[in-house]
């Protein structure tokens, strides 16, 4: 077997990518590709897990049995997404516990949206509608991501996300068509979540340093700004349908572009939230850290028990 030099390997790798051949865990890949994917997949997994908290916040206060059951099922789905995303990251050699420790130390990031508080029941609708809606926009292209395990995980995640988005919109439209208090609750929630939802797509393309390489590697298939625009165009129509007002005075249909023009995003707020200064950053990480610390004795017990059983089997 001849040893190929790194340039050859990289060339062959890029040729596979260009030919839309999936990269699998045991295939050769450039270190940068592996690192980018590990970062993106673990961030995605962390977002699912931290994302359980703002919605979990309302399970015990859900207004009806049906809503309680649906919300439980939804948050449980997110835990499941977290699980298979951590597994996808493990195929790249990233240990789950190490990855979780990076989240707790602040080294690893997660979606900034989950650092906003859920203050009313309407937020359960808005999160499903906008946040899961934005997540779908981001994730549908990832079903075609060049890395096989991630692409396959995304197929399953997207199916469930689209159910989540529908149930969120259903809550919102029920409120928007309900009593004046309910409509107010829905509008207030939209006012709080609209701009943070737009920030979910990340910085503008000219401020997104890793995007070009990711697109070349087909880890990413559309740019941040393209996805954001797509999201706005779809969502404005939905808001109109239920009679809610998007909180952006600059929002206007642009006939020539066939898209909506919209106001300037407060990137300073985005950066502050990313850096840990959002309204709930500390609470979210504290909650996750406490869960891990308070559960340490349980995990230790499970390991100790498994060891004892193994010994017992050996002596019998």
């Amino acid at each position: 077997m001849s040893t190929k030099n790194i340039e050859e390997l990289e060339r062959e790798f890029q040729a596979k990518i260009d030919a839309d051949i999936k990269i699998e865990p045991n295939d050769w890949m450039p270190e940068g590709y592996r690192k980018t994917l590990m970062r993106q997949i673990s961030q995605h997994a962390h977002s699912e897990i931290v994302g359980m908290l703002p919605e979990g916040n309302w399970i015990t206060r859900a207004p009806s049995l049906k809503r309680k059951a649906v919300l439980l099922a939804k948050v449980q789905d997110e835990a499941g997404h977290g699980l298979y995303l951590y597994s996808a990251a493990e195929t790249l050699g990233l240990d789950r516990e190490k990855s979780i420790d990076d989240l707790h130390s602040g080294k690893a990031k997660y979606s900034s949206i989950f650092n906003y508080p859920t203050l009313t029941w309407a937020d359960m609708g808005t999160i499903g509608w906008l946040v899961d809606g934005a997540a779908i926009m981001n994730q549908v292209p990832l079903c075609r991501c060049s890395y096989g395990p991630y692409a396959r995980a995304m197929v399953r995640v997207c199916k469930e996300e689209s159910f989540h988005q529908r149930q969120g919109f259903e809550i919102v439209s029920l409120l928007a068509n309900g009593t004046p208090e309910q409509k107010q609750m829905a509008q207030d929630s939209l006012n709080r979540f609209w701009w943070p939802a737009l920030m979910m797509f990340g910085p503008n393309d000219d401020n997104s340093p890793n995007s070009a390489q990711s697109i070349k590697w087909k880890i990413k298939r559309s740019s941040n700004d393209e996805l954001r625009q797509q999201f706005i165009d779809v969502t404005v129509a939905q808001a109109e349908m239920v009679g809610l007002t998007i909180p952006d005075k600059d929002l206007k249909w642009n006939e020539a572009r066939g898209s909506y023009d919209f106001g300037t995003i407060n990137w300073e707020e985005f950066n502050q939230v990313i850096q840990g200064n959002g309204p709930c950053n500390k609470e979210r990480i504290d909650a996750r850290r406490n869960a891990k610390e308070n559960g340490a004795w349980v995990r230790e017990a499970a390991n100790a028990f498994a060891e004892k059983r193994k010994k017992k089997e050996l002596t019998h």
Partner: protein
């Protein structure tokens, strides 16, 4: 439905109360378990506890649907779930006890699952087909819950020194609520007579031996102090319950008469 009078209570009234009590047990335990969502000791257990909570809320739904169809007081299942006064809930005291830690949560679940499995097994033969149907579906779920809680009782009991100490403490604390699992009053007497409900005194010995078997394997002991607390089935609760209700009822109380 026949309208027989026994102990000042019509069969219909007794059957209604019987079903609501079963539903209340599911609802309150489901509510307690759902507090764990996002805070479990490991992701897999987060999912498992949430899943059990989900099953219990589903059971509540089915049982309350049956209750409102038995006795039409013009109320719907959400009014039953969210708009009664504290003393009108007749769940077991066991299920309203706080989560405390994973050990308490598992022991509470285990005591309840052993009992619930016996209840649903017997209710599969209820003379009311609708209840028998609910029992059959719920039994399948309860068998999984019991497998899960039994395995954890054994793991924690026979795990580390700390886990043993914690779970033994949970057993000691929660034991005083286990006699109430076998509580009977005129509601039970009425439904037993007609084969609608089950005579839970029949399976007290089975419950005891099952629990003892698992606790022994877990190297845990049954407390010798046998003083027992009851009251849940009469609407007399522990102090924890009011807080659980204020959280659970918040939306329906703050925004009455609305669709969600």
């Amino acid at each position: 439905m026949e309208y027989l009078t026994c102990n000042h209570m019509t069969t219909q009234e007794a059957f209604y109360s019987y079903i609501v009590r079963l539903g209340d047990d599911s609802l309150i335990l489901g509510q307690r378990l759902s507090e764990w969502c996002g805070h479990g000791p490991v992701l897999e257990e987060d999912i498992a506890l949430t899943n059990i909570a989900l099953d219990l809320i589903g059971q509540t739904n089915n049982l309350y649907e049956l209750a409102v169809s038995i006795e039409n007081k013009g109320e719907n299942i959400d009014q039953l779930a969210f708009l009664r006064l504290e003393k009108e809930y007749e769940n077991l005291l066991l299920v309203e006890q706080p989560n405390v830690d994973f050990g308490y949560t598992i022991v509470r679940q285990f005591f309840f699952d052993v009992y619930r499995k016996l209840v649903f097994e017997a209710l599969c033969n209820s003379t009311d087909e609708r209840l028998a149907g609910i029992a059959e579906k719920s039994l399948k779920e309860t068998k999984y819950h019991l497998k899960h809680s039994s395995e954890w009782v054994i793991r924690l009991g026979d795990g580390t020194e700390e886990s043993h100490r914690r779970v033994q403490e949970a057993v000691n604390t929660l034991w005083k609520f286990t006699d109430e699992l076998f509580f009977q009053d005129e509601v039970d007497q009425n439904v037993i007579e007609l084969g609608l409900g089950v005579d839970n005194s029949n399976f007290k010995a089975t419950w005891n031996s099952h629990v003892e078997h698992v606790l022994t394997e877990a190297t845990l002991t049954i407390p010798t102090n046998s003083w027992q607390h009851t009251g849940g089935r009469k609407g007399i609760h522990t102090e924890y319950f009011g807080y659980l209700l204020s959280e659970m009822q918040y939306m329906q109380r703050a925004y009455p008469n609305m669709e969600w």
